[in-house]
Amino acid sequence: MMRILALGLTLTAAPLAIADSLPAQTLLERMTEATQELDYQGRFLYQLGGEVSTMEIRHAVIDGEQYQRFTHLDGRLVEVLRLGDELVCLHPNGTLTRIDDPDQNLLSFRQRLSSRIPEQYNVLVDGDGRVAGRATTRMRVAPLDNHRYGYRLWLDNESHLLLKSEMVDASGLAMERVEFVTLDLEPDLGESDFELPRVIAERALETVPASRSDRIHLEAGWLPRGFHAAEGDWRRVTAERSPVAAQSYSDGLATFTVFVESVASDDIEEGVSRIGPTVAISRVAAAGERTYLLTLVGEIPQPTAERVMEGLGVEVAARP
């Protein structure tokens, strides 16, 4: 009600200004739409701590399928390609890893976002800015507790593409930044722009049949408010390696994934690592007669990740 009143007042006071300013939620929806549906090509800076990389992105929708290609332009050549349902990573050593997910639902985030912004965040339109020579609207996504990070977003006024994005910690410190320096909205991309180069070896993260009796189930004793188990799967790199179970959790904006694998007791590595906003924690858990290594990878604060890890339990049960 207050919002309607405030809007009414603003409309009376400044009808011209309100005409081109959209509510935060609408802007976020348009951003997600634009990211997935437009064809574009551009170069951007990716900054993690003191290190800056330059990358190129190409994105096109061809016959209803999304094609996307990220190319690391300086240092080692690394590429990540999304080809419809498949994600391919070209490593600097000339090998390639594929992961496909036919069940993916690209609209899931957009649908969720259009129904509501996660209530653990406060989203507001913050002002104007210029990125890559284009006029942008600046937004702030602030977490309401300290179990997740915040974001600062710069959206292109014309296309609604996200031109600059920062993930910030509780003190407003940017831990990671993406910023376009050039953007072409009419790039004329075809399938040939998404062709894979020759590689020396190829691996796939293949799904393991769900019927196996030693399937691992993960129980989370504690999750930060708003986080839900989103999807789990069981994959292995190659047939001779034992499969690794993965369970992902999301609050709608932040995510983390817990991996569980059976390990020999003399092959254990526990510890904590961080790079920018990404934290990785490993710890050992026993279930039955076997030892398991749990690894959490995600963009959440380390104390939160540690608390999640403490509450995790592994259950190995042959479920019918």
Binding site: F70, N93, F109, R235, V237, A246, G271, E299, T304
Partner: protein, 205 residues
Amino acid sequence: MSRNYEALSAFLDGETNDFETRRVLRDLDRDDLATLGRWQRASDALHGHASMAVPASFNASLSQALAAEPKPARRAGMMHGFARVAVAASVAAVTVIGWQYWSGPAETGAAPVVATTDAANDGAAGEASMTASVAAQRMTRPFGETSLVAQGAQRAAEPRAVSNGQQPRVNAMLLRHSEFTARHSGQGMMPYARLVSMDARNGAR
């Protein structure tokens, strides 16, 4: 461990060279931090300063310390690609905490602020609440080396050495996590850019 107060003092005065700075940062423990804090308060009182600036060469020294951080042979990390940066992050964390000792309690000359947990953080106890408050107290500063802040200063990045055979496993995890994040988060292209960057780092090792 016998404390090298001379080095600590020189460090506080910004008089250590790069090698010494790196060594001091590496060897700092809780007691050293407390000592630094005491000295700083004494110095403040003596000079009637509200606070003392961080030595001008501080960030430059830190950058070089980070660049010169020993390779993983000695402190290999579990996540490989993460390892070097993780080690660097532990250095940065010590730096930030040290910096807080310099600038934090200056107004009243009181002891360094002890952790209070945000009410919204429903009850992370002990060290976790300490680290949470460290995070809460952190000052905004330009995006640079010190942005790589490890919140668990005293216990970050001390994993055991592991074999190189783990790399494909780590890559696979990052790939799976990124794939999920790109589809289920509002982070735009960030997850893929992050994956590319991490893979490039891994490749550089």
